[in-house]
């Protein structure tokens, strides 16, 4: 059994997974904050403690996410595109398109039957299509992130919220509140706005089924349902909080590949055994 680790340093949360080739041995999550190197080590050590293994027992570690280069104990960094592709493929082998709604970015990723990235599209440099947009909308109205899910279940009729700009959306939220619109309907409007952008992004990526949705915001069933409704197609959502760990899981799976290669002398950590043709 080879134990590998995946560490996903995201813009809002940092996640770590220990994987033995078949199943997840441990996982941990913490808000990222400002000390990226330290938080990566913290979640990694929490995983070690949960799985009751030593750091030396971890054959290979891949860091991913926006802060991947700050992880000082990694063997390799990989983009969250690659990591999410592999993670989604492991959880749902039929996946051909992954929609990752992260804290700061949204990505539509087309993958092949092994989970390898074929093409991708990213959202514009704008918070309007990301989890941060929903968090901000909730915060304007005095709700926490964890209250978004329960809040949306009470909505009866959504109100339109600009899908173009999170800054404009703030003033729209204030306008709606000032005329007595219930917060749950405003929240539902924000969800639908975000869903609209995500479906547009998937179209630009020429998405094809099966669709797998990942990212912390997918903890709320209403989000996945809104995408289903908009796409008119079934979508996969990792069970429970796994939707937050997909990239970390994918990184740990990729780490299995590299660990196996290293064990057979196929790589030598920077000393270049795989020599180009002379």
């Amino acid at each position: 059994m080879t134990i590998t680790a995946g560490v996903d340093i995201g813009s809002t949360y940092t996640k770590a997974v220990l994987f033995d080739g078949d199943e997840i041995l441990a996982k941990a999550i913490r808000p990222t904050g400002f000390l990226l190197t330290e938080i990566a080590r913290t979640v990694f050590e929490e995983c070690l403690a949960t799985a009751e293994v030593d750091a030396d027992d971890v054959a290979y570690t891949i860091a991913t996410g926006i802060g991947r280069h700050q992880c000082d104990f990694k063997d390799l960094a990989a983009t969250d595109l690659t990591a999410n592709g592999r993670g989604a493929n492991f959880l749902f082998p039929g996946t051909r398109t992954v929609l990752d709604i992260g804290g700061q970015t949204m990505k539509a990723i087309r993958v092949d039957e092994r989970g390898k990235v074929k093409s991708f599209r990213l959202n514009d440099k704008c918070a309007a299509g990301t989890g941060a947009f929903l968090e901000k909308t909730a915060r304007y109205m005095g709700y926490s992130t964890e209250e978004i899910g329960p809040l949306m279940t009470t909505s009866r009729e959504s109100v339109p919220i600009s899908g173009v700009c999170a800054v404009f959306a703030e003033s729209e939220v204030i306008n709606h509140l000032s005329i007595g619109t219930p917060p749950c309907d405003i929240m539902q409007g924000a969800i639908e706005s975000l869903t609209g952008r995500s479906v547009q992004l998937m179209k630009r990526a020429k998405a094809e089924p099966e669709f797998t949705l990942v990212g912390g915001i997918l903890r709320f069933d209403t989000m996945a349902q809104a995408v289903r409704d908009r796409l008119q197609k079934e979508v996969n959502v990792p069970e429970g909080d796994l939707c937050q760990y997909t990239a970390a899981l994918g990184a740990s799976i990729l780490a299995q590949q590299r660990a196996a290669l290293a064990a057979t002398g196929g790589t030598a950590r920077g000393v270049g055994v795989r020599v180009a043709a002379p």
Partner: protein, 387 residues
């Protein structure tokens, strides 16, 4: 001889490297200004191949003119928009009084560079001239021709310096530059053998700073830094080893080098090749000018602007890849750079034939956005790493 770059001496290694990066990246050319303020004279030489020893032997500072990350607000009016950035930003440095020269030398490495001396000379009173490097490196008369050309340059330099340069002066300078180049080769050996001990950007800065300070000070800096780099305990990461090719004249922004260096180990490259183009020690002979000329012909690194039938560029690139045990190549070219873009065709064909993975991109010294390019480089690397 005034000292111009002493700030690093009391600093720990990481801060020394940071200081070198900042000094190179900030376009105020502090060490050059200090040299000038102390009464020193400066000969600016444009990329790529220049016999620094000739200027040094006369007691002047040879300054590598290699553009800068500045807006060419003055220089834009002197050039067409279809020309590369390095021409404009190099001239901008003197038009904006950031640096002050006593002489400027360019080379006919491309049409634009050949005309640079004339454009430069219309704006300044000091001598601006072209050093005509041989277009045919394979004639039996080439070494003598180049020796005479160096002699002509020496006479101009002597006039600026106000004194004669003896063969002994030249030999001393050759010995110093031999030492400096040996140290740069040692740095590249660290890059090749233990690339996790020195980042691509730090290696680049350590070499680059040598283009703006006296060689004696650069030797001191390198002699202090190299043992400290070797003593580092950084963790070796499992990264793809790449050769970066295409920075022989205009230099990529430091952020671009940093970005590539985060995804791969840059184990060899042609960054600032003009500062380290002599690849072996120049033997001490009776005629140092002839020794320099022969070194250019027989002991020099290739580039798209050196014309030598014995050195087909694509074959030289393959040798560079093999020597560095690289797995892939980042093929870059500066925007509007004719020699660079032209050579890419031959490089690509050769790499295709050999099945060596490569990544092609264009850069400009003033580019500021790298996120999209970084994603492309990383995706390229991950396609090689993961099946």
């Amino acid at each position: 001889m005034p000292r111009v770059f002493d700030e690093w001496k009391a600093l720990p290694l990481d801060e020394v490297l940071g200081l070198c990066r900042d000094t190179l990246e900030e376009a105020d050319f502090g060490p050059v200004t200090r040299w000038r303020e102390a009464g020193g004279k400066i000969v600016g030489h444009f990329q790529v191949y220049f016999p620094h020893e000739i200027v040094h032997a006369a007691g002047l500072l040879p300054l590598k003119v290699r553009g800068a990350p500045v807006e060419p607000t003055h220089a834009d009016s002197r050039f067409g928009s279809y020309l590369c950035s390095i021409l404009k930003t190099s001239l901008e440095l003197v038009l904006s009084d950031t640096i002050e020269l006593d002489m400027f030398v360019t080379h006919p490495i491309c049409d634009a560079a050949r005309n640079l001396a004339a454009v430069w000379g219309r704006n300044f009173q000091y001598p601006c001239q072209i050093l005509y490097l041989p277009q045919n490196a394979n004639s039996k008369h080439t070494a003598q021709y180049l020796r005479d050309e160096y002699d002509r340059l020496l006479e101009e330099v002597e006039e600026i310096a106000g004194r004669k340069v003896t063969p002994e002066d030249l030999s001393r300078s050759v010995a110093l530059y031999n030492r400096d180049r040996a140290l740069m080769r040692e740095l590249y050996e660290i890059k090749r053998e233990t690339p996790w001990l020195v980042s691509a950007e730090d290696a680049y800065s350590l070499v680059g700073i040598g283009g703006m300070i006296p060689v004696e000070e650069h030797i001191e800096l390198m002699e202090s830094v190299l043992p400290q780099l070797r003593a580092r305990t950084a963790k070796a990461e499992d990264r793809i080893r790449v050769v970066f090719e295409g920075a022989f004249c205009e230099q990529p922004p430091l952020d671009l080098i940093r970005m590539v260096g985060r995804s791969c180990y840059v184990v060899d490259d042609d960054f600032m090749i003009g500062l380290r183009y002599i690849i072996e020690d120049i033997p001490a002979g009776d005629d140092p000018l002839m020794d320099l000329a022969e070194a250019y012909l027989e002991r020099s690194s290739y580039s798209p602007v050196q014309h030598d039938n014995r050195k087909p560029k694509e074959r030289m690139l393959v040798e560079r890849i093999g020597g560095a045990r690289a797995e892939a190549v980042v093929l870059a070219a500066a925007k509007m750079c004719e020699p660079g873009l032209e050579e890419q065709v031959a490089y690509v064909q050769e790499l295709e034939k050999r099945g060596t993975p490569y990544f092609v991109n264009e850069f400009e010294e003033n580019m500021t956005s790298f996120s999209s390019l970084e994603l492309q480089v990383e995706t390229f690397v991950e396609n090689l790493l993961f099946t």
